[in-house]
C-alpha cells in the first residue's frame, strides 16, 4: 500500500537530479589520494579520527517523505534502526522543518526498491551527524513544495500561506497536509530554503520519546527474525566449526532421511537443509557428516604471538615527537605492555534472512546495516539485475557492526530459488559464535621518557592488531595498499596529549579468522592502553591524574580544547578524589572519538575478591544532542556494554576451534554487574551533532582499571580485567 502510494507520488517528479550530497564514495576518495599517498596517509588516518563521512544518497524529498491522506507523514529512512535511536532523531529533524507535531510522523525503513538507498551503511555513529543538514533541507524543501500546492488550491500567492502546527492557512481558510496532497501527481522541486534558526527549534534538542517505543514494549513483530512469507520453508546452513579449514567429505545421506526435510541443497559455497520447520531443519543439519581439513593448527598462543608489536606491516601515523629511545638527555624510560582479547558481538538476534524468489525477482527481509551492499551481493549471486532485488530492511536486534556484512541474504535467496518457495535461513547461536566477525585482539607498548625532575619528555604508543576495516564489505579493496594502517583498528589509537612530544605506530597483522567492526572498533583497546598508562605516569610523577591530563593537552587543537572542558566537567561532577575512601576508589579516563570527547569516573570497590563498579559519572560532548534522553541512553548503554567487554568477555582458540559458543560460558555483564548509578552530563562544544553511539565505550575500561590500581596497588594490563591475572605490572 505504502509502496504504491509512494510510487504514485514520485511518478510526477520533474526528473531533476538532486544529488548534491552524493559524495564520490570512499573508493574514489582513496583512489584519489593514492597519487599523493605518502604525505597524505597520515593526514587521512588522523582525519578518520575526527571527520564525519558525508551523507551519500538521494535528496529527492519525495523519496524520504510521504504525506498520507490522514495528514500523517511517513519518513522512509535509508538509515536503519538498531537501537541507537536514529529513527527518533531523524523524525525530529524532519518534523522540525515540516512544522508538524511529533505524533504526526512515523518512521519506517526504506526498501531498496523505493530508490532511497544510502550510499554507505548505518554505522560509525554517523547517521544523525551526516543527515543533520541534508534531512532538514529535504524536509524544508518538502514544506515549500506543500506550501506552493496549498497556495494553488486556495488560489492565493504562496507568500500568503502560513504553516503552523501542521496546518496550512491563508485568507481565513485552512488546509491539512492530506488535503494539500490530494490529487497531486506533479511536483516542482525547488532549491532548499534557508533552515530554521536554532532559537525556534521545537523538537530538536528535546527529550522526545522514542518513536519505536510502543512496538518494542508490546513485542511487535518488527525484527528480521520475525519476518515471514506464507508458504515459507526453513533452512539450516552447514557452517564451519573450525577456523582456517576446508569442509570436506560432506555426507548428507542421513540428513535427507530426517523428518520434515524437503530438500538438501548444495550450492557452490554452502550446503543447507530446507525443511518444514526450524527445528526439523536444525535437527537434520546436525546429522550432516563432514570433515574439516585445517590449513595449519591454530591455538590462542599462536594468535597472541602474531599480534605482537614488531610483527606485521608498520605505519607511523603520529609523528609529533621522536621515538622515546631517541630522545636525548638524561632520564628514565618507563615502558608498559597491554593486551586486549578477541571479542564477540553476541547481539541477541542471530543473523539470517527471509527471502522470496519468483520469476527472476527476489525480495529479502533482513536485519542489515548495509542494504545497498546486500542488494549487490544478492543480484550478483543470482545473476540478476539489481533492480530485480528488493532488500526490505527490518529493525535490527542489535547491530554493533556485526551486520555491516550480511551475505546470508545470498544464502536465503539462492535457497528460495532452489526450492521454489520462500525460505527463512538463520544462524543458531553456536554458529553465530563460531562464525562471528570478531573484534581483533591487540597488543600495545606504551613508553614515556621522564626527566630526572619527573617531567614527561615524550610519549609513545605502539600497537599491533588485525583487520577491522580492511577486507570488510565496506573496503573498496585498495585501502590496505593506500593506507597500510587499518583506520578501524587505529581508531582511538592516536594520542590526544599533544602538549607532550608524542608518536604512534601501528602494526597490521593478518589473522586466520574474520575480524571486523565491533562497536567503537579499536577505541576500546587503544583507550585502555593509553589511559591506563597516563594514569600510571600521573602516579609515577606525583600528579593528580586529572590535572596531569589537562596539562598534557594543548590549546591548539579544537578537539583538545573541548576534551579539556569535558575532563574538567566530569571530575567536578563526580567530585573526583585521588584517594581511597571507605574501601572505594575512583578511576579517571578520557578519550576523543569521532570528534566527540568523553570522560568518565568509575567508583569501584573490591568485594569477595571481585571488582565491583558502583557508580559511573560521564561527561560527553557530542555537539548538539538532537535528543538528549537518547544520547544519555547511548552513554549508559556504552558504559554497561564497556563493563561487559572490559571485565568479562574473551574468546579462546584451541586446535582451530573458537570458544565459548554460548552465552554464560561467554561471560558477559548482567544486571548484577551493572552500576546502580550512572550520572551523565552533556556538553555542547560545537553547533552540530557529532557521533554518539561509540565514544563513551572508550573510557570505562581504563577508568575501572585505574580505580583498581588505587585499591590494590596492582596495574591490570590485560582485558578482561581480572584481579588474578598473571601479567600485571607492579610498579614500585
Amino acid at each position: 500500500m505504502t509502496e504504491n502510494k509512494k510510487q504514485n507520488q514520485s511518478k510526477g517528479v520533474k526528473r531533476r537530479k538532486f544529488l548534491k550530497y552524493t559524495g564520490a564514495g570512499l573508493g574514489l576518495m582513496l583512489g584519489g589520494i593514492w597519487l599523493a599517498r605518502n604525505p597524505l596517509r597520515r593526514a587521512m588516518l588522523e582525519m578518520g579520527e575526527t571527520t564525519i563521512l558525508p551523507y551519500q544518497g538521494d535528496t529527492n524529498p519525495l523519496l524520504w517523505l510521504e504525506v498520507r491522506p490522514d495528514s500523517s507523514i511517513v519518513l522512509h529512512s535509508s538509515k536503519v534502526e538498531m537501537g541507537q535511536g536514529t529513527f527518533t532523531g531523524l523524525a525530529q529533524l524532519a518534523a522540525e522543518e515540516l512544522e508538524i507535531p511529533m505524533e504526526r510522523i512515523r518512521v519506517q525503513h526504506a526498501t531498496t526498491q523505493s530508490g532511497n538507498i544510502d550510499g554507505m551503511s548505518t554505522g560509525g555513529s554517523m547517521s544523525i551527524a551526516a543527515l543533520w543538514t541534508p534531512l532538514r533541507e529535504l524536509a524544508a524543501t518538502m514544506r515549500v513544495m506543500l506550501m506552493a500546492k496549498a497556495a494553488e488550491k486556495l488560489s492565493l500567492p504562496p507568500d500568503q500561506v502560513t504553516l503552523k502546527n501542521g496546518v496550512f492557512a491563508a485568507g481565513g481558510k485552512s488546509l491539512t497536509f492530506g488535503e494539500v496532497v490530494e490529487g497531486v501527481t506533479d511536483w516542482d522541486i525547488p532549491k532548499a530554503p534557508p533552515l530554521k534558526p536554532r532559537a525556534s527549534f521545537r523538537h530538536i534538542g528535546h527529550p522526545i520519546r522514542r518513536v519505536d517505543l510502543r512496538e518494542k514494549v508490546t513485542g511487535a513483530p518488527i525484527f528480521g527474525m520475525d519476518a515471514t512469507y506464507s508458504d515459507m520453508l526453513y533452512a539450516s546452513v552447514l557452517r564451519p566449526t573450525h577456523i582456517d579449514a576446508e569442509i570436506t567429505n560432506v555426507d548428507t545421506g542421513e540428513a535427507e532421511q530426517m523428518p520434515g526435510v524437503v530438500q538438501v541443497v548444495r550450492e557452490a559455497d554452502f550446503v543447507a537443509v530446507v525443511a518444514e520447520s526450524q527445528v526439523e531443519a536444525d535437527n537434520a543439519r546436525l546429522k550432516i557428516k563432514f570433515d574439516h581439513q585445517p590449513n595449519r593448527n591454530w591455538n590462542l598462543e599462536d594468535v597472541l604471538k602474531a599480534v605482537t608489536v614488531g610483527n606485521g606491516k608498520k605505519t607511523v601515523f603520529q609523528k609529533e615527537g621522536k621515538a622515546v629511545e631517541d630522545i636525548s638527555g638524561e632520564g628514565e624510560i618507563i615502558e608498559m605492555e597491554f593486551r586486549s582479547p578477541i571479542g564477540a558481538h553476541a547481539q541477541i538476534e542471530p543473523n539470517g534472512a527471509v527471502a522470496s524468489y519468483q520469476d527472476g525477482r527476489v525480495e529479502v527481509k533482513i536485519s542489515t546495516q548495509v542494504p545497498k551492499i546486500t542488494r549487490a551481493e544478492v543480484a550478483k549471486a543470482l545473476g540478476i539485475d539489481q533492480k530485480d532485488v528488493n532488500i526490505i530492511p527490518t529493525y535490527l536486534g542489535g547491530g554493533f557492526g556485526r551486520r555491516l556484512h550480511t551475505p546470508h541474504a545470498v544464502e536465503a535467496a539462492l535457497l528460495s530459488k532452489a526450492v521454489g518457495r520462500p525460505v527463512k535461513s538463520f544462524f543458531d547461536r553456536i554458529q553465530e559464535f563460531q562464525n562471528d566477525t570478531f573484534r581483533p585482539p591487540s597488543h600495545h607498548i606504551m613508553k614515556a621518557k621522564l626527566s630526572p625532575e619527573g617531567k614527561v619528555l615524550g610519549l609513545e604508543h605502539q600497537f599491533a592488531s588485525g583487520d577491522t576495516f580492511f577486507n570488510s564489505a565496506l573496503d573498496p579493496g585498495i585501502s590496505a595498499t593506500v593506507l597500510r594502517a587499518d583506520f578501524g583498528s587505529v581508531r582511538g589509537g592516536a594520542l590526544i596529549y599533544d602538549a607532550l612530544p608524542h608518536r604512534s605506530t601501528y602494526y597490521h597483522v593478518d589473522l586466520p579468522f574474520a575480524t571486523s567492526f565491533w562497536r567503537s572498533l579499536g577505541l576500546l583497546a587503544n583507550a585502555f592502553a593509553i589511559e591506563s598508562f597516563m594514569d600510571e605516569l600521573a602516579l609515577k610523577t606525583n600528579q593528580n591524574p586529572v590535572s596531569f591530563r589537562l596539562d598534557s593537552i594543548s590549546d591548539e587543537n579544537p578537539y583538545g580544547v573541548r576534551a579539556k572542558k569535558v575532563i574538567e566537567a566530569c571530575a567536578e561532577r563526580a567530585g573526583y578524589r585521588d584517594t581511597v575512601l571507605n574501601g572505594r576508589a575512583m578511576g579517571f579516563a578520557a578519550c576523543i572519538d569521532g570528534g566527540s570527547p568523553c570522560a568518565q569516573v568509575a567508583e569501584v570497590s573490591i568485594e569477595d575478591d571481585k571488582i565491583k563498579v558502583h557508580k559511573v559519572t560521564a561527561a560527553f560532548d557530542c555537539g548538539i544532542a538532537v535528543n538528549p534522553d537518547l544520547v544519555k541512553a547511548q552513554v549508559e548503554g556504552c558504559i554497561c556494554m564497556g563493563i561487559s567487554a572490559s571485565m568479562f568477555e574473551k574468546m579462546d582458540l584451541k586446535d582451530n576451534k573458537l570458544s565459548p559458543v554460548i552465552y554464560g560460558a561467554y561471560d558477559m555483564a548482567l544486571m548484577k554487574d551493572s552500576p546502580k548509578e550512572i550520572d551523565v552530563i552533556l556538553l555542547e562544544g560545537v553547533d552540530y551533532p557529532g557521533p554518539v553511539g561509540e565514544p563513551p565505550l572508550g573510557p570505562i575500561g581504563p577508568a575501572i582499571g585505574n580505580a583498581v590500581r588505587r585499591l590494590t596497588g596492582k596495574r591490570l594490563t590485560e582485558l578482561p580485567l581480572d584481579l588474578n591475572q598473571k601479567n600485571t605490572a607492579d610498579p614500585a
Partner: protein, 159 residues
C-alpha cells in the same frame, strides 16, 4: 502428538512433536512473534514466558509439558490492547528499550518477579533478573523494575 493448552486466555490445540521446544510452537505455529529466539539453550532469557504464572525459558521447554497449562506471552501480558501491564508502563516511562530484541523476555521475567516479590530490593533484582541484554540497558531496567513495583502496588490499592 496433540497438545492442549491455554495461551493468553485462549484455548489452543496444537499438533507437534512433543519434544520440540515450546518457543517454536509459539512463534511459528501460533504466529506470536513477541517471544524471541536468542540461544536455544536456556542461556539468554530472550524466550521467557509464563507457564502457570512462573517464568520459563520456552526454548528449552518441550511442548509436551505444556499440556493443560496456562501460558502467557508478551502479547498477553496486559489484559487489553489499550491498557499496558504495569511493567510495560514502567518500561515506557523509563524509555528502556534500545534495539528491543531482548525486552519482551526481560518484561516477562520482571512480571513474574513482581508476582512473587511485589517490592523487590536491588539484591532481589540482581538475583532474579538474569537475562542478557547486549545493548546493556540494565541501568534503566533496574529503574523501570522499581517503578513497575510502584505502579503494581498502586493498581492493587485501587482495586
Amino acid at each position: 502428538m496433540k497438545i492442549n493448552f491455554t495461551i493468553n486466555g485462549i484455548n489452543k490445540s496444537v499438533e507437534a512433536d512433543g519434544d520440540s521446544p515450546l518457543l517454536w510452537v509459539i512463534r511459528d505455529g501460533l504466529d506470536l512473534k513477541g517471544t524471541k529466539f536468542g540461544c536455544g539453550k536456556a542461556a539468554c532469557g530472550a524466550c521467557t514466558i509464563h507457564v502457570d504464572g512462573k517464568q520459563v525459558r520456552s526454548c528449552s521447554f518441550p511442548v509436551k509439558y505444556a499440556e493443560g497449562k496456562q501460558i502467557t506471552t508478551i502479547e498477553g501480558l496486559s489484559g487489553s490492547e489499550s491498557d499496558l501491564h504495569p511493567v510495560q508502563q514502567a518500561w515506557m516511562e523509563e524509555v528502556v528499550p534500545q534495539c528491543g530484541y531482548c525486552q519482551p523476555g526481560f518484561m516477562m521475567a520482571t512480571a513474574a518477579l513482581l508476582a512473587e516479590i511485589p517490592n523487590p530490593t536491588d539484591e532481589d533484582i540482581d538475583n532474579n533478573i538474569i537475562n542478557v541484554c547486549r545493548c546493556a540497558t540494565y541501568y534503566r531496567m533496574r529503574k523501570a523494575i522499581h517503578r513497575a513495583a510502584e505502579l503494581h502496588a498502586n493498581a492493587i490499592a485501587q482495586q
